[in-house]
Symmetry: C2
Subunit: 361 residues, 2 copies
């Protein structure tokens, strides 16, 4: 499995390539075209640095750049202003300038924080994403969403900021815990469900291969997910409308994450459960037939993801959804399913929302 | 003096008007076109809120929006991540959404922090600037630079983000301390010096009227400064090249501010002294004749601005200038003067820089 596939995200002057394949982190040639300045700062965490830090530094060595590394604590609980400031401290401490390239080596938390730091440091420096989890390969690779959490809401502080390139190394998934692999599969399922019925069928047929971390299946899943997301984002870079469909499962999912405290459930687990809830609401409101909902729930279960929501209380769920970024003046917008590949965005009657919440726990 | 002048900053889809005149803060009609959502958050400080907060809230009342106010501590020393977070706390506490408009009511610190908060909150919400100091009216009104300081450097963390409109109320300058008025005149002088010899002559002829805070002179000074800066920024929104000339006096000036600790000297005072130093270096390097340098220094003195630099030590000055955002790989770029209206950007030999530093203290 030495095939490398490149998906191009078409965003005019902000266009960039996503390279997908096995053992890419060590390939100097993939980084060389995207590092213009004289220095590089790698941002990673205590889990990933021992696994892939040396491989990346060895790949960069022939380029003759000044390379420094910032190692952050691992986990969603650290995706906050204090940890972000550690990146700024390191950049200023190493005299990083306006041409210094940041490289995010890690999962979604590292990618989101590094991208946001790159967006803000001296009002913008280049960065490269090297996502090492399936979730970050299929999700944060495309879309330019960067940011941090606030105690009152997830990703509330951030920027739209595009990387120079994404290097999605499928080989890095060999060291990924099974629970995190499943969390990534959740976003793959989401992408099929909202945008491509054929891809949804393919996921159903290949779910065991994905669970077993087979490189060929993973490469295909990452490629199709990135292509679909890239086509949505190219039409709506700053989330004016269409792009909101990518938040299928996220309205309920974000409430679960915020309600339990970030880090208790993985983002993908919350999205898995959130998709089951959104499908339930879709059926209750008469948009989706129950057979499709069952197929979706069965696939979520087959991916070893939760479909039973934590008992936060219905009132708390509604409160949490009202502070979601997609809400306006307290009105919650749900992304619902009509059939695989077709969505709609709508408010929902309180009674139906409460019925879904009651059925989900 | 009821004349209102509008300068349009031409930035395509990010274009916006700057309204300049006396007693504009109370005019509902100036705000109405720029507030689309259902809520407004005013960000101000403990000095300005008692002076103009009620006037602004009264102007907004007829629009029927939910209005909240965040009152921050006053001063450059508070332009940091911790104070920025107070804005985010308030926005999330009041359930501000993606259409909430932020209004910055205050000087440059309030404008920079509010603009940056607007750039980051939910990855971008609209904001209006109501600058209440001369410096912020002529400087931060145009250019979209927002941000905060880091202990190791000024404005190191920020974004380019344009307001919906700027309401520059000349009447608010009546309550401005003389020292802050002078700091604003420093940027007016800078604008004339780098871009428009006729305007420089006009400032020389009207410096006493500006010192006396005469509305007609102030309106003209703000108008010409904004026009000149707008024309530079329109050609170079993200500071690729031309725009760097606006940093005349700032390389030395930022070193003074950082070296003394932010807040010890006002930004405009540091720029005043920094211009005298940059002119000195310009003469030493053979670009500027000494008669022009003397005219500039005389005008800085007439504006009651310092021309004698604090004794930080030459080594420290160089260190501080090396971490300036304009430096690359430690090489310092100076904006020098050839004549009024004409600049050049260059590195300088150590010997000349040290001679300027030695002569300035």
């Amino acid at each position: 499995m030495d095939r490398m596939i490149t998906v191009n995200v078409e965003l005019g002057e902000r266009a960039y390539p996503i390279h997908i394949g096995a053992d890419l982190i060590g390939q100097t040639a993939l980084f060389a075209p995207h590092i213009a300045g004289s220095s590089v700062t790698i941002v990673t965490n205590t889990t990933v640095d021992p696994l892939y830090g040396d491989t990346l530094r060895a790949a960069l060595a022939p380029l003759g750049k000044q390379v420094s590394t910032v190692v952050l604590p691992d986990g969603e609980a650290h995706k906050n202003l204090g940890t972000l400031n550690l990146i700024f401290d390191a950049l200023l401490g190493s005299r990083a300038d306006r041409k210094t390239t940041l490289i995010a080596l890690g999962g979604g938390v590292i990618g989101d924080m590094t991208g946001f730091a790159a967006a803000c440091y001296m009002r913008g420096v280049p960065f490269i994403q090297v996502p090492t989890t399936l979730l970050s390969q299929v999700d944060s690779s495309v879309g330019g969403k960067t940011g941090i959490n606030h105690p009152l809401g997830k990703n509330m502080i951030g920027a739209f900021y595009q990387p120079q390139a994404v290097i999605a190394d499928i080989g890095a998934l060999r060291t990924l815990p099974a629970r995190e692999l499943a969390a990534g599969v959740a976003e793959v399922i989401k992408t099929g469900a909202i945008a491509d019925a054929d891809f949804f069928d393919w996921i159903e047929a290949n779910i065991e291969a994905l669970n077993r971390c087979e490189p060929e299946a993973l490469t295909e899943a990452v490629k199709r997910s990135c292509e679909i997301k890239a086509s949505v984002v190219a039409k709506d870079e700053r989330e004016g409308g269409l792009r909101a469909i990518l938040n299928f499962g996220h309205t309920f999912g974000h409430a679960i994450e915020a309600g339990l405290g970030y880090g208790e459930w993985l983002h993908g687990e919350a999205v898995g459960c959130g998709m089951a809830m959104a499908a339930d609401l879709s059926v209750r409101m008469g948009y989706l037939d129950d057979t499709a909902r069952r197929r979706l729930v069965d696939l979520i279960v087959a991916a070893h993801l939760p479909t039973k929501a934590p008992a936060l209380g219905e009132k708390r769920y509604v409160e949490l959804m009202q502070v979601d970024k997609k809400a306006q003046a307290g009105a919650i917008k749900f992304i619902l399913l009509k059939r695989f590949g077709e969505t709609l965005i709508t408010q929902a009657p309180d009674a139906e929302v409460h019925a879904t919440l009651a059925a989900a726990v």
